[in-house]
Each structure stands twice: as C-alpha cells, then as structure tokens.
Amino acid sequence: MAERPEDLNLPNAVITRIIKEALPDGVNISKEARSAISRAASVFVLYATSCANNFATKGKRKTLNAGDVLSAMEEMEFQRFVAPLKESLEVYRREQKGKKEARKDKDKKADSEEQDKSREEDNDDDDERMEEEEQNDEEEVDN
C-alpha cells in the first residue's frame, strides 16, 4: 500500500511549537531546520517501532505494548526518556480510566433515576418505564 508523502509526516505547526518551547525565547529556527527535525521525528518513530517490535517478537507477542516501547528507548540509547515516559503513562492511564468510569457512571445514573421514578409511580407507568429503557439501550449503541 503506497502512502502519500504527507501521511508519514507530522504536522508542521505542532513540531514547530514543540521546538520553540524547548529552545530559549527568541531563537530563530530556519525553515530548513524545522523541516529536518520533522523528518528526523518520523524516522525516530520508524526506528522506535522497529525496535519495540523486536521486543514484542522476543516475547512471542503480536501486539506492541508499553513495555516494548520503553525497552526500545533503552536500546536506542534514550534512557533519559524512560522516567518521564513512565510518569506520563500513569497520567494517561488515569485519564483513560476516568473517561471510562464517567461513561459508566452516566449509564448507571440513568438506570438508577429510572428505578427511583418507578418506585414513586404506580403500575400504570410500567409501559413508560419500558420505553425509557429502550431509549437507553439505543444511546449505548450510538456511543
């Protein structure tokens, strides 16, 4: 499958911002330098992926996991990245977990609200409740 050249490039604006934030204020970055760093970053991803994949293969796995990437960093002599990466990963995992739980809570809340409602109402409203339940199911499918 042929990739268009721009698909393997990273967005210029983001790369530029990362560079600017890393360097002292007011340092000029030539367009050529910026473009070179962007290419280097793409090559880095390829190199890291290949390296991580070796670790996955060694572990008889087909899916690259976090450990593989961290091992790759050590192998590539970027040990300095390992500690900050582990920290970021913790934050990321908490964020992802938080999002999952927020979704779960939202569903739970909808269910319990229903139950409260049915306790207060009489049996005549059974039909209405069933309708709401169906609606909730539909919402889940859409998500």
């Binding site: 990739e3 698909d7 393997l8 990273l10 967005p11 983001v14 790369i15 911002r17 990362i18 560079i19 934030e21 890393a22 360097l23 007011g26 340092v27 000029n28 970055i29 030539s30 050529e32 330098a33 070179a36 760093i37 290419r39 280097a40 970053a41 793409s42 090559v43 880095f44 991803v45 390829l46 190199y47 890291a48 992926t49 290949s50 991580a52 994949n53 087909k62 899916t63 690259l64 996991n65 976090a66 593989d68 990437v69 961290l70 960093m73 590539m76 002599e77 970027f78 300095r80 990245f81 900050p84 990466l85 970021s88 990963l89 934050v91 990321y92 995992r93 964020e95 992802q96 999002k99």
Partner: protein
C-alpha cells in the same frame, strides 16, 4: 477514545501534542507490525515529542547557529554526525556543501593528484561560509 487525547483543544499543557492518529499511520507503515496497544501508541507519541525537544536543544547547544541566535540545518547535521545517539539520522541529515565549492574541490583533487579526505575539506569549506 484513541484520538481523545489528541483532540483536547486549547492549553499547551495537554498530555501529548502530536496526533496519535498520525503516529499510528507511521508505525503501521512498517510491514512487520501487526497491532499496537493504546498505551504503546501513546508512549511512542510522547517519546517522539521528547526526541524533538532533545534533538533541538542538543543541536542548539553544540552548534554554531547560536552565535546568530538561531538553530540552523548545519547544527542538526553536525549533531547527526558527531553524537552517537543521533547517528541513525546521519543519512537523512547529510552535510551540505555548495556546488561551486564541490567543483573546486574536484578540480583541486585532479591537480594535486592525491586522494584527500572529502569530509574534512567539505567541513572546512562549509564552516568558512557559515
């Protein structure tokens, strides 16, 4: 969910700035890779950001561009050549040489009839003009 981290808009203090979707495309361009777990994708994106920062600051610190308050291509190619950690970039960040200089070099070689160190001369010529 995969793009959620990348889609967060606004503040620069988001967890990762590079889009996970794009990182994934690059990773998947390697034929030997089957699948990538979400954490691995995030870590690769984050590592790439750290790499960009490191390459930029290292090159600036060790280069001559800062004499003019700039980061130049030459700073980067010096880094690729001289620093072992960045040697994997040597092929994509080759040293530059002006065509005119190169031609002069070839002529001189012919005249002298000796085999010189191309790199050495190229560096000298290059630094002169920088």
């Amino acid at each position: 969910a995969e793009m959620a981290a990348a889609r967060l808009s606004g503040a620069e203090n988001r967890l990762v700035s590079l889009p996970l979707s794009r990182i994934r495309v690059i990773m998947k361009s390697s034929p030997e890779v089957s699948s990538i777990n979400q954490d691995a994708l995030f870590l690769t994106a984050k590592a790439t950001e750290l790499f960009v920062q490191y390459l930029a600051t290292y090159s600036y610190k060790h280069g001559r561009g800062k004499e003019k308050n700039a980061l130049t291509y030459t700073d980067l190619s010096h880094t690729a050549e001289e620093c072992e950690t960045f040697q994997f970039l040597a092929d994509i960040l080759p040293k530059k040489i002006l065509a005119s200089k190169y031609l002069k070099m070839l002529e001189k070689e012919k005249r002298d009839g000796e085999v010189r160190e191309d790199d050495e001369e190229a560096e000298e010529e290059e630094d002169e003009d920088e």
